[in-house]
């Protein structure tokens, strides 16, 4: 099928884009990579009357680090961030050396987001703004405890990942607001992350996704752990209980198994054509265990490298 008619705007600055969005009100829609929106237009699942194509805005596709160790002390406290412009293409982040060193879990999970042609075009910000419960990037943002920068009529504000995903394909962005940057906490000291999913074929949307991030103290005990799940609820889901179970432990098998059980208890997945609810719940246990085990192993590696700084 073909898209219904719309008015097409192609602003060349953020200010113009925000003005166009404000004017369009409920009728307007941001067009970024188009890899989720255009299928919806083609199938007429969406028919906005104004499309604001943000691809001509320059400066919103940068990938950089910010925070500790920089002359301008823009980073808060001792945190360091990988800051990714909303318009950075998924394929660019996947191949970014900076991402590989600061947030190695991002390239890892991007390698299974659709296919190279969809990642060449699909943006990082678009994936997060779309908030697909089965999207890998939203789950990673949640597991890493990142945040987004949102620009709107009242200026720029930040929304933490925990407050961003509020329902099926729904974020807490307000009308007329646009996501401009994603901030992923950069790896520092004895931290590690892990990612695991099961999908019918490479590049397909997964049946279940787990992403974990673990920080160890100098003695090797878990100082903090975050586990996020995808494709098993109406939104990407953080499982605080898994972090609680692991806190203070050494991340040994019994603790990991208890955390995986906590993840299973936190979900009530729905049946789907190829994956009944029971199978999905089973996957949550297996994948949560895998992601956490990887995260603990990588954090321990960093600790032995003397990276507890």
């Amino acid at each position: 099928m073909k898209p219904a008619p719309f008015r097409y705007e192609r602003p060349s600055s953020l200010e113009e884009a925000l003005r166009a969005l404000e004017e369009a009100g409920d009728e307007g829609r941001v067009l970024a990579g188009g890899q989720s929106l255009v299928p919806m237009l083609n199938m007429r699942l969406a028919a906005p009357s104004v499309l604001v194509d943000v691809n001509a805005i320059s400066g919103l596709d940068e990938i950089a680090t910010e925070g500790e160790g920089e002359a301008e002390g823009e980073g808060e406290g001792d945190r360091r961030y990988l800051v990714v412009g909303a318009l950075a293409r998924q394929r660019t982040l996947e191949r970014s050396a900076l991402a590989a060193s600061c947030c190695p879990v991002l390239p890892e999970c991007l390698s299974v987001v659709g296919h190279v042609p969809t990642r060449n075009r699909g943006t990082v910000g678009g994936s997060i703004a779309h908030a697909d419960p089965a999207g890998e990037l939203p789950v990673a943002l949640l597991a890493l405890g990142g945040e987004v920068e949102v620009a709107g009529p009242d200026g720029v504000r930040r929304i933490g990942a925990d407050d961003l995903f509020v329902g099926f394909l729904t974020t807490s962005l307000g009308a007329g607001e646009m996501l401009v940057r994603c901030r992923f906490p950069a790896r520092r000291g004895a931290v590690g992350s892990g990612f695991a999913e099961v999908a019918p074929r490479h590049g397909d949307f997964a049946f279940a996704i787990a992403c974990a991030s673990v920080a160890l103290d100098e003695s090797g005990r878990i100082a903090g752990a975050r586990l996020a799940l995808g494709a098993v609820a109406d939104r990407p889901l953080l499982v605080p209980a898994a972090g609680d179970v692991l806190g203070g432990s050494r991340g040994a098998e019994p603790a990991l198994r208890a955390a995986a059980a906590a993840a299973q208890a936190a979900v009530d997945p729905a049946d789907s054509l190829h994956a009944p609810a029971g199978y999905r719940r089973h996957l949550v246990g297996v994948l949560a265990g895998r992601a956490l085990r990887q995260a603990v192993a990588k954090a321990s590696e960093q600790l032995t490298k003397g990276g507890s700084r």
Binding site: M1, K2, P3, A4, P5, F6, R7, Y8, R10, G34, Q35, V38, P39, L41, N42, M43, L51, D53, N55, R91, G114, H115, V116, P117, T118, N120, R121, R201, H202, G203
Partner: protein, 152 residues
Amino acid sequence: MRRIEVDVNGSRHVRHVDERRLLSDFLRHDLGLRGTKVGCEHGVCGACTVLLDGAAVRSCLLLAVQVDGCRVDTVEGLAGPEGLHPLQEALHRHHGLQCGYCTAGILMTAVEMAGEAGPHSVEEIKQRLSGHICRCTGYAGIVAALSEVVGS
């Protein structure tokens, strides 16, 4: 309607297009380049894959107005005066196509791969082909052909 100027396979085209015209339909219906095929129109089958400024993209998920000022390469640009492109030759030799509906898209992905630092492992080739649905060949011939040209 908007005026766009696009370089397709090295020739410049100036056209007025409806804002909602998909790039796939622009190529096929407005420029008459029907080598690019349309299967699903939601990004899944890969039949419509073309190169946009050198990168493989789904032409069914782009508006023609978005490629104003860009370069697009389609399957029609592959064969030269000396004959078929080496990737086309290899697909032919390895029986990498039957009905040919998926072939143009697969070729454009393969051309993108040929431009990258290689060689590509069989595993990588299979992963890249996961974005292209072929209902005829069973893929073995396609993998063999691509391995010969972009593989180790």
